[in-house]
C-alpha cells in the first residue's frame, strides 16, 4: 500500500489506542474510595487495610452528593468529600485494631449508616480492654421508661439557682461521679429535705447541672448536636427534624418519631449515664443510630450537657 495510506493508518490507530488506553490506564491505577448515599451502597470499598505506625493515604470522591469523612474515636477534623472531586487524606494509626470511618455531612435519612472499617494490623504490645460504659457498670436498663413524676411548672433558672445555692451545700452534687449517675429528678428529691419550694429546688438543680459542665463543653455540644442530631431531633430538639417523618416504619406500622428532647417528663428523669447509654447503643426499636464507635467519651458528655440545656436556663 502507499506510504501515505500506511502513515494515516498508523496515525489513526495511535489516536484511537491513546484515546482508549490513557483513560483506562489511569482509571485502573487510581485507587479511589467512592462515597455514595447509603441507598446506593455507601462507601465503596468499605473495608480498608492499614498498618500501625505507617501513614495511610486515602483518595476519596463522591459519586452523588456532598459527603464527609472522619474516623471515629479519634476526635479527627473531618474532611468534605465532594461530588466529582478527589479529597486526599493521610492517617496514621498508633495502635492496631478496628476503626470506624463515617460520613460527616447529612446525605439522606440513612446518612448515619454510611460507615466502614479500617483494619489496622500490627503487633500490639499493650492491649487494653475497652472500658465498660457507665450505664453498664451501673446496671441501668436503657430501654426502661424514665419519666420524672414531678416536673417544674416553668423553665428553671440557673441564675436564681446560683443565689439559692449559697445557702445550700451543693458541693456533694458538683462532681462527675454524682452527676453522671443521677437524674435531675433524683437530685430534686435529694434536695427536698431543704424545705424550699418545688420551683426553687428546680432552680437549684439547674444550677447544679450547669456547674457540672463548662461553657466550652456546651459550645462543643451544640456543634455536635447541630451536625449529628438536629436533622432528626430538630434544630431545637423538639423531635421535629427534617427526617422526622421519613424514618423507617416499625413492624406494627406505627411511625417512630425521634424523641422530643425538650420534654421535661422524659428528660428530667434521665441521668447522664442513661442518656450516654442511649447514644452509645442506639436502637430501642427506633431509628436511633448507635454512636459508640464514633464519638469519644469526651464528645458524648459535651453533647449530653448541651441536651440538658433544653430543660434549663443557663447563663
Amino acid at each position: 500500500m502507499k506510504r501515505s495510506e500506511l502513515l494515516s493508518r498508523l496515525l489513526m490507530m495511535a489516536g484511537i489506542l491513546l484515546a482508549i488506553g490513557v483513560p483506562l490506564f489511569f482509571w485502573m491505577r487510581t485507587p479511589l474510595i467512592h462515597a455514595r448515599v447509603a441507598e446506593n451502597g455507601g462507601w465503596s470499598p468499605n473495608v480498608i487495610q492499614a498498618e500501625a505506625g505507617k501513614p495511610l493515604h486515602l483518595q476519596l470522591t463522591s459519586d452523588d452528593v456532598t459527603h464527609g469523612f472522619a474516623v471515629g474515636q479519634m476526635d479527627m477534623q473531618s474532611v468534605d468529600v465532594m461530588p466529582g472531586k478527589v479529597t486526599d487524606v493521610t492517617l496514621t494509626f498508633d495502635k492496631p485494631g478496628t476503626y470506624t470511618f463515617y460520613c460527616t455531612r447529612w446525605c439522606g435519612v440513612n446518612h448515619w449508616r454510611m460507615r466502614g472499617t479500617i483494619e489496622v494490623s500490627g503487633s500490639s504490645l499493650d492491649t487494653e480492654p475497652a472500658a465498660v460504659p457507665l450505664y453498664v457498670s451501673l446496671g441501668l436498663n436503657v430501654d426502661a421508661p424514665h419519666d420524672a413524676p414531678i416536673v417544674p411548672k416553668e423553665i428553671p433558672s440557673a441564675i436564681r439557682g446560683e443565689q439559692l445555692a449559697t445557702d445550700l451545700s451543693i458541693a456533694q452534687f458538683v462532681n462527675p461521679d454524682f452527676y453522671r449517675a443521677n437524674s435531675p429528678y433524683q437530685t430534686f428529691q435529694d434536695l427536698s429535705s431543704t424545705g424550699l419550694g418545688d420551683s426553687e429546688i428546680w432552680d437549684a438543680v439547674s444550677y447544679i447541672w450547669q456547674s457540672n459542665t463548662t461553657a466550652g463543653s456546651l459550645v462543643n455540644g451544640q456543634k455536635l448536636f447541630a451536625q449529628n442530631c438536629a436533622a432528626c431531633h430538630g434544630e431545637n430538639g423538639a423531635g421535629d427534624g427534617v427526617f422526622a417523618d421519613k424514618l423507617p416504619i416499625k413492624v406494627d406500622s406505627m411511625m417512630q418519631k425521634p424523641a422530643n428532647l425538650t420534654d421535661p417528663v422524659r428528660m428530667l428523669g434521665a441521668s447522664p449515664a442513661m442518656l450516654q447509654g442511649k447514644i452509645l447503643r442506639g436502637g430501642m426499636g427506633t431509628g436511633m443510630p448507635s454512636w459508640g464507635s464514633i464519638f469519644t467519651e469526651h464528645q458524648i458528655w459535651d453533647l449530653i450537657a448541651y441536651i440538658y440545656s433544653f430543660q434549663f436556663q443557663y447563663h
Binding site: 495510506e5 484511537i16 491513546l18 483513560p23 461530588p83 478527589v86
Partner: protein, 443 residues
C-alpha cells in the same frame, strides 16, 4: 447580496482539496470522541465533573447551536467523527483511491425510508429521556458508543453514509436549519454537469469517492442534505464545484414541500419550548416526571411531549394553511408555510442554549483538567468554583435572539405565502404567539 465564491481563492481551494488537513482534524475529532465515550463509561458518575457530559452537552452543544449551525450550516457534519471508522472499513482505505469493487454489501438504502422520518423518531427518542442523558455520564457514554457502532454496522450493509443521512438524530435538525446558513456548496455552471460523462461527483473516480451523502452535487439547490465533506471538490473533472458565501436563509426563498421536514420543524419548535419549561423553569414536578423514566409520571410526560409536537402544534398550524376553496393543495400550503418555523425554531434553540451554556460554562475548565474525576489538576484550574458567566447580558441577548427570530420568521412567512398563494397573517400570528410563550418561559 450576491454570492462570494470562497473557493475562487487558491489557498482555500487547495486546502480543502488536500486530504491531509482534513485527516488531521478528523483524527483529533475521533480521538476526542472516543475519549469522551471512555470518560462517560469509566469516569466519575457526577455529570458536572465528567468530560463526557461537559464536553458533549455544554461545550459541543454550545459550539453547534450558537456557531456551527447558524454560520456554517452542516459544518459540524464536515468534521464529525461518527461515520469515519465505518467509512474507512467500507472503503478499505483511509486515503487510498477507491477500488473498483466495493468491499461490503453496499446495499441501497430502502426507498420507503429515504426521508427524515427515522431522524425525527431518533431525535424524539433521545429527547424523551434527555433529563437522564444530559446528567448521567454512563448514559452519554453508551449513546456515544451506540451511535458509533450503529454507523459502523450500517456502513457494512448499506452504501455511503447511511447513518448520517437517514438515522443520525443530530443530522435531522442540523440539515433542516442549515438552510438558514450563509454558506453553501453548489455547482458553478449547470450546463457543464449536463454534458459531464460518468458523473464522478456521484459515482467516484480515481481522485476520490462518490458523494457519501447520496447527493448529486449538480442538482443541489439547498443545503439540507450536503454534509460539506468536500469529496466532490476532488472528483469533479470540470472544476465546477464551489463553496460560496451568500445571504442568510437563501434556501428558504424556494421553500421545500416535504412533510417529513415540516414535522421536523414542529418537533424542534415544540421541544425547545418543552425543554425551556422543564429544565429552566421552577416547576419541580415536571423535572421529576421527566427524570424518572419508566414511571407513570414519565409516561404522562412522554405522551404530552409527543402530543405537543405531533398533534397540537401541527394542527394549530394547519388552521393557518386551511382554505375551504382550495383544499387540494392543502399539503403544499402546509409544508411551504411551515418553512417559516425554521428560522424561528433555530432562534428558540439559540435562546434556550444561551441560558444553559452561560450558567454551566465554568464547568468546562474544571472538567478539561480533571476529565475523569480522578483527582488530576492538569493546569491548576480544577478548583475553580462554579459561577455563571455573562448573567447581565443574558436576558437582553435572549430578547434580541427571539425578537430577531420573530422578524426572520415573519419575513420567511411572507415569502412562503407568496409561493403558496395564501395569506401570511395566520402564520405570523402563530409565530408571534409561540414567541411570546418562549419569552415568558425564558425571561
Amino acid at each position: 447580496m450576491t454570492k462570494i465564491e470562497l473557493t475562487s481563492h487558491t489557498f482555500i481551494k487547495s486546502a480543502l482539496k488536500n486530504r491531509y488537513p482534513q485527516l488531521v482534524v478528523l483524527v483529533v475529532m475521533l480521538a476526542g470522541y472516543i475519549f469522551a465515550m471512555m470518560a462517560g463509561l469509566i469516569g466519575t458518575p457526577v455529570g458536572s465533573h465528567n468530560f463526557s457530559i461537559v464536553f458533549v452537552w455544554i461545550a459541543w452543544w454550545a459550539i453547534l447551536i450558537l456557531f456551527a449551525v447558524p454560520f456554517f450550516g452542516r459544518g459540524w457534519c464536515a468534521v464529525c467523527p461518527i461515520p469515519l471508522p465505518g467509512e474507512w472499513l467500507q472503503r478499505g482505505a483511509i486515503l487510498n483511491p477507491p477500488n473498483k469493487k466495493p468491499k461490503w454489501s453496499n446495499l441501497r438504502w430502502p426507498k420507503f425510508l429515504r426521508n427524515i422520518w427515522l431522524q425525527n423518531i431518533s431525535f424524539l427518542l433521545l429527547a424523551l429521556f434527555s433529563s437522564v442523558l444530559l446528567t448521567t455520564p454512563n448514559v452519554t457514554g453508551i449513546i456515544l458508543a451506540a451511535m458509533l457502532f450503529t454507523a459502523i454496522a450500517l456502513s457494512m450493509v448499506f452504501e455511503r453514509r447511511s447513518f448520517c443521512r437517514y438515522l443520525c438524530p443530530v443530522g435531522g435538525f442540523v440539515g433542516l436549519y442549515s438552510q438558514t446558513a450563509p454558506i453553501e456548496l453548489r455547482v458553478k455552471d449547470k450546463q457543464a454537469c449536463i454534458t459531464c460523462d460518468g458523473k464522478p461527483c456521484y459515482n467516484g473516480s480515481a481522485n476520490g469517492y462518490g458523494c457519501p451523502w447520496d447527493v448529486f452535487p449538480g442538482g443541489l439547490t439547498r443545503n439540507t442534505y450536503c454534509g460539506l465533506c468536500t469529496e466532490c471538490l476532488r472528483t469533479c473533472p470540470n472544476d465546477n464545484i464551489a463553496i460560496n458565501l451568500r445571504s442568510f436563509a437563501s434556501d428558504l426563498e424556494k421553500p421545500s414541500a416535504r412533510l417529513d421536514e415540516a414535522f421536523k420543524a414542529f418537533i424542534m419548535l415544540g421541544s425547545a419550548m418543552i425543554y425551556a419549561a422543564v429544565l429552566l423553569g421552577p416547576w419541580g414536578a415536571l423535572k421529576d416526571a421527566a427524570y424518572h423514566v419508566g414511571t407513570s409520571a414519565w409516561l404522562i410526560y412522554a405522551a404530552v411531549f409527543l402530543g405537543i409536537v405531533f398533534i397540537l402544534l401541527p394542527s394549530l398550524f394547519a388552521l393557518c394553511a386551511f382554505r375551504l376553496e382550495n383544499f387540494n393543495s392543502f399539503k403544499k400550503r402546509f409544508t411551504t408555510l411551515s418553512t417559516a418555523l425554521i428560522p424561528l425554531g433555530l432562534m428558540f434553540w439559540v435562546a434556550f442554549s444561551l441560558s444553559f451554556v452561560f450558567t454551566n460554562a465554568s464547568y468546562i475548565l474544571v472538567s478539561l483538567f480533571d476529565p475523569l474525576g480522578l483527582g488530576w489538576n492538569l493546569f491548576g484550574t480544577v478548583n475553580i468554583v462554579w459561577q455563571p458567566i455573562l448573567t447581565p447580558i443574558l436576558a437582553p441577548a435572549q430578547t434580541l435572539v427571539l425578537v430577531g427570530g420573530l422578524i426572520w420568521s415573519a419575513r420567511t412567512a411572507l415569502k412562503a405565502s407568496n409561493e403558496a398563494k395564501t395569506s401570511s397573517i395566520p402564520v405570523i400570528i402563530y409565530c408571534f404567539v409561540v414567541t411570546l410563550i418562549m419569552l415568558w418561559l425564558l425571561l
